[in-house]
């Protein structure tokens, strides 16, 4: 009798698991089919957004349409995105384990790689930052390349001096702060939020992107290692 009840319970649990799996599979499939059908029957191409971008590109201060959208037409998106990055870094740092890795050493190959690669990484990042005005490139690409250098720096167990450690919070926040300062300055001068004056637009965008590149590199490095870099 006891055995029978147990068996019943097991088969009941198994049935519930089956029903759950089936329901999840069915609803995901339904969503996929609905989305697929919507794409299949999309109305003929509307070129309103691309033509709006093309028409206003000469007022944006840059020549690359993607950069114009990111930092001018939809600048608030990018502002909030840097805010999200900073929040993520704060979250990761506050969850970081308190482990002491001072005894860690890196293989010599990584240190040689670091010495050889770091100058090129910095040059490529600066080039990507600059070229974003005219062609694919910009703060995020440059920041990601620079972050690769940061990861290399951390994995080669280089000890940062106290000035570098002190400037980590500045590096984390300089992108968001510069962006906010420009946004507030445009409002104080009687324009809309992030509406750059045309003769300054290119320079302002480059300044924001340069600050954002530093922040993105520092934040991505911290997200990678999941704790504060070691001080020496």
């Amino acid at each position: 009798m006891q055995n029978n009840a147990n068996m019943n319970q097991v088969s009941r649990a198994r049935r519930i698991a089956w029903i759950r799996q089936g329901l999840a599979a069915l609803s995901v499939m339904a969503l996929t089919v609905i989305l697929g059908w919507t794409v299949w029957t999309l109305p003929p191409f509307s070129d309103r957004m691309p033509s709006l971008v093309a028409a206003n590109l000469s007022n944006s201060g840059v020549e690359n349409p993607v950069t114009a959208v990111l930092l001018n037409f939809r600048g608030y998106d990018t502002l909030l995105e840097i805010g999200v990055l900073l929040l993520a870094a704060v979250g990761v740092l506050s969850l970081a384990p308190k482990s002491d890795r001072s005894a860690e050493t890196a293989p010599a190959q990584i240190q040689i790689l670091l010495l050889r690669l770091l100058p090129f990484i910095v040059i490529v990042a600066a080039y990507l930052l600059w070229v974003g005005k005219y062609a694919p490139g910009g703060a995020f690409q440059a920041g990601a390349v620079l972050a690769a250098g940061g990861v290399l720096l951390v994995t080669s167990a280089v000890r940062l001096n106290h000035i570098a450690v002190k400037s980590i919070p500045i590096g984390l926040s300089i992108g968001l702060l510069t962006f906010l300062a420009v946004a507030l300055a445009t409002m104080i001068s009687g324009r809309n939020f992030l509406q750059y004056p045309l003769p300054w637009a290119g320079a302002l965008i480059l300044a924001i992107e340069a600050a954002a590149t530093i922040s993105i590199a520092v934040i991505l490095t911290i997200l990678f290692i999941g704790r504060k870099p070691d001080g020496g």
Binding site: A13, R20, Q21, A24, A25, V28, M29, L31, T32, L35, G36, V39, W40, L42, F45, D47, M49, P50, V53, P65, V66, A68, V69, L70, R74, D77, T78, E81, V84, L85, L87, A88, A89, G91, V92, L95, A96, P97, F140, I216, L220, L223, F224, G226
Partner: protein, 102 residues
């Protein structure tokens, strides 16, 4: 079937596969992976949508959205992995229990 449709539909299928695993898999790291796969599906879809007319210049607006999305995805993944590490530290496992309260 042109290439736009192919890429867009593959993106939607990836989204579906990721969502299913996200809901059904009890392992936290696999959930995070699944979330990333569905995110990749959305990015693929947006990039495909940006280039619907063969020959014409692609629409820069979805491209900018994907750039923003990649960064937000990386941040979310990093925070989720830190949380998973913390859960592993506290509970000794990254699996959610199968008989959670109904």
């Amino acid at each position: 079937m042109n290439s736009f449709l192919l890429y867009a539909l593959v993106g939607i299928v990836l989204l579906g596969m990721g969502l299913y695993r996200l809901v059904m898999d009890p392992h936290l790291v696999k959930k995070i992976l699944a979330l990333n796969i569905s995110g990749a599906g959305v990015f693929l879809f947006l990039v495909a949508v940006a280039d619907r007319i063969p020959g014409a210049a692609p629409d820069p607006v979805p491209h900018a959205m994907v750039l923003t999305g990649i960064v937000v995805g990386v941040s979310a993944t990093a925070v989720a992995l830190s949380l998973a590490c913390r859960i592993k530290e506290n509970n000794g496992t990254t699996e959610l229990s199968k008989n959670e309260p109904e």
